[in-house]
Subunit: 190 residues, 2 copies
């Protein structure tokens, strides 16, 4: 059986805590939905922030909602070099000891001591997809993508949940190295 | 036999024609060597230029010498998006129909209609290395690099010549996607 999965390329983005939304956008502010994402309930917000590192900065970094318990900035390694931060490759939510950054919004500024990561590539599987493909939660997969720049990514983490939609998430470095874009198909090779 | 090859990560850089050196740096100017590169006779020059595309620009792009017949700017796909140019993946020297760019030096400016490429990943083999590894010129190889971000690159082009030193050239997107840096080792897997 061919195990095909659609690719979703994640540009740099940020998840904010409720407290940080309040500081950055003002008392009573909340995130407003611009468009839904592939994972049910998740959305790209109309709101953006600037992030400032010791070597460089990015304006208009898209906020993904809804709010989370802890603020988390997800960047590529290329971005990390440009900002001058030493962001580790981590699974979402695993931010202990990761890099810090300054975040600027229209109403205020927040300095976080940790929360900046390079997201480890992963595939979201609905429980039924995982069953069909014979894949277990947290399993590490090898996945082939691309044409003339074809690449096999190792250590692609399977994340299985009944609320997930089938989608492989890679960052812009990985997408560019493989010459792929959102909507292209990847194949699990083992 | 394990077929190990050192990795060299190419940041964005430019090769200039003699005429363009004259226009950009002035009559009688020539490139001066800052440091030698891994390939014999090649060097990073002290001189840099700015490159300006429709969407963005980069200052201080390193010139690699010596001068070539035709000017060629080598960038990553991430760079191509930032500049706003549609640079194809090509082997060095194969620039027909590639992207254009504006190049600015201290003495003048040049607009090239073609010459901007994303360099196809490749390995330089000295003739003796190629013989030892059983590799032929222009053969396409699969090459494994990296640790936690391990990647197998497909379509890595073998370039065999008696003046070459053993080195695998990848760009910054590819290096960042695989989490490797110059001096790390790659392994030819077939």
């Amino acid at each position: 059986m061919s195990k095909q999965v659609p690719v979703g390329v994640s540009a740099r983005h940020i998840h904010l805590s409720e407290e940080h939304v309040r500081i950055l956008f003002g008392e009573g502010a909340s995130l407003t939905e611009m468009k839904p994402l592939s994972q049910p309930g998740q959305f790209a917000a109309n709101e953006t922030v600037a992030v400032v590192g010791p070597k460089g900065s990015f304006g208009k970094v898209r906020i993904l909602g809804p709010v989370r318990k802890r603020t988390q900035l997800e960047i590529s390694r290329t971005d990390a070099f440009a900002l001058g931060v030493n962001a580790p490759v981590r699974e979402s939510g695993d931010i202990a000891g990761s890099a810090g950054i300054t975040i600027q919004g229209p109403a205020g500024e927040v300095v976080i001591e940790e929360g900046v990561i390079v997201a480890a590539r992963h595939i979201h599987f609905h429980t039924s997809d995982a069953e069909r493909f014979g894949v277990a939660d947290k399993q590490k997969l090898r996945v082939r993508v691309g044409g003339e720049r074809g690449v096999v990514f190792e250590n692609v983490i399977a994340r299985v949940h009944e609320t997930y939609a089938l989608d492989m998430h890679i960052d812009t470095d990985e997408a560019n190295a493989a010459g792929v874009k959102t909507g292209d198909m990847a194949e699990i090779v083992e």
